[in-house]
Amino acid sequence: MVDSIEKLIQYSQSLRKPNIRDEIVTQIYQTTRSICQDSVIYPKTETNRSEKLDQILTSPIWGFPIMFAMLGVVIYLTIWGANVPSEALANLFGIGENYLTAAFQALGAPSWLHGLLVLGLYRGTSWVVSVMLPPMAIFFPMFALLENFGYLPRVAFNMDRLFKSSGAHGKQALTMAMGFGCNAAAIISTRIIESPRERMLAILTNNFVPCNGRWPTLILLASLFMAAGFATGVQSIVTTLVVMGIVLLGIMVTLLVSWILSKTALKGIPTRYTLELPPYRQPKFLNTIFRATVDKSLFVLKRAIIVAAPAGLITWILANIMIGEQSILQHITLFLDPFGKALGLDGFILMAFILGLPANEIVMPILLMGYLATGAMTEVDNMVELKKIFVDHGWTWLTALNMMLFSLLHYPCGTTIFTIYKETKSVKWTILSAVIPTAIAITVTFITAHVVRGLGLV
């Protein structure tokens, strides 16, 4: 008598036979096949459109060049397209600042209030908007078009072997692609990787993909310091190549760190997996562009402003409260300066990265506010003056390069770290996810600075 659940399970076990699942699945397949044969008419053509496209997009010869070309085109169009609107926005905000200043004067407001609200809050916020909005409004829609077209799985297909040999999961390519948008969102997307070991690899290394908060920094520095010597026409191309180089370096670091972790703390062999290459679909252009611009760009921008506005305030306060002869800001930057210099950076840059922990978007504005608070310049409305601020503070191309490297490699932003904790529920791995990149960032910039200086290149 089967009168308990245990007995039912025992009884059913006695009825089992090996590979009964094969039979079940096969029967299901045969049923669907017979239904489909009756009711679906397929076109006669041997190869379909997607397969033909795959023969090009994942071909042994063209697969990789096309992938790099697409990356290059996306970055180039972002840089090239963002130039003019960025400058226009900056001008617009500059005019707004003049009116605000006039209004403050007319009302007889005290100068500290003007400094706090206009030079701190307003200027900080307007920097973020004018530097970030145009590239994001170009980058996100282009990326969304590629995503909706179905190109991302092909990237995973092309690069799978690299990930396999570094002990990582092939789907890590997909989570990395998400990282170009936002690392925190990408950490959540690592849920598509089932094996806990490989998922942890994907989480720990995701930060080496520059997110939208870091694109503007990379683009700005590359165009000011790397491309400046070239003719106007090719400057955007040079900037693109530099930024691409940084992205490729990030990918190499990802693979290397994955490989090292696979041999040490996260030992193991890659788990088995299957990758579906869905048919290419023609994206709905306007819809995709609209969604990407409105949902993503504005969302990210809102977050940036929410963080940037108080950061602007704090920076201004730090720069204007004096202890002895110097402001708090100067005390901090002087303290950090020797270490910064050893990394080819300076105290201001390190301070900007530290205060920029909540969001990478605000690192550059904080840095500029720091420089402006101590320098003579009060208004910046074009690239020449912008570069002058940096150069006045002793920047060379090495400083720019190392800031780019540090930006690429350093600890993830606060939101991402918090997300990592939520996803891993492990303090140890959360700490490591910040410590590993930071250690790499310090090592790489230290070596770069000493090699470049040792060779007398700056």
Partner: protein
């Protein structure tokens, strides 16, 4: 993987453009179940579509979808060749 007497060979050794019929899955566990779900069932006809630029994985057309498998998996799926079209 040793080919059996009927001329079956591992799927990974099939040529691009070949159409083959699956004779046997030599994988156990979760991967076997996943492959079954995707249509890699004995008797199914598979078309070899593409190799990754780096040589592995390979993409196959199975029940009107494109699935890529690493060599570890495709070497454990035994197939026989269908006549050239």
């Amino acid at each position: 993987m040793v080919a059996d007497s009927k001329g079956a060979f591992p799927l990974c050794d099939a040529q691009i453009g070949d159409s083959v019929r699956i004779t046997q899955l030599c994988i156990e566990g979760a991967m076997r179940l996943r492959l079954l779900d995707l249509g890699f069932i004995p008797g199914a006809i598979i078309k070899v579509l593409q190799k990754s630029p780096l040589g592995d994985p390979m993409a196959f057309r199975v029940s009107q979808t494109t699935i890529a498998l690493r060599k570890e998996e495709s070497s454990q799926i035994l197939v026989e060749k269908l006549g050239d079209e």
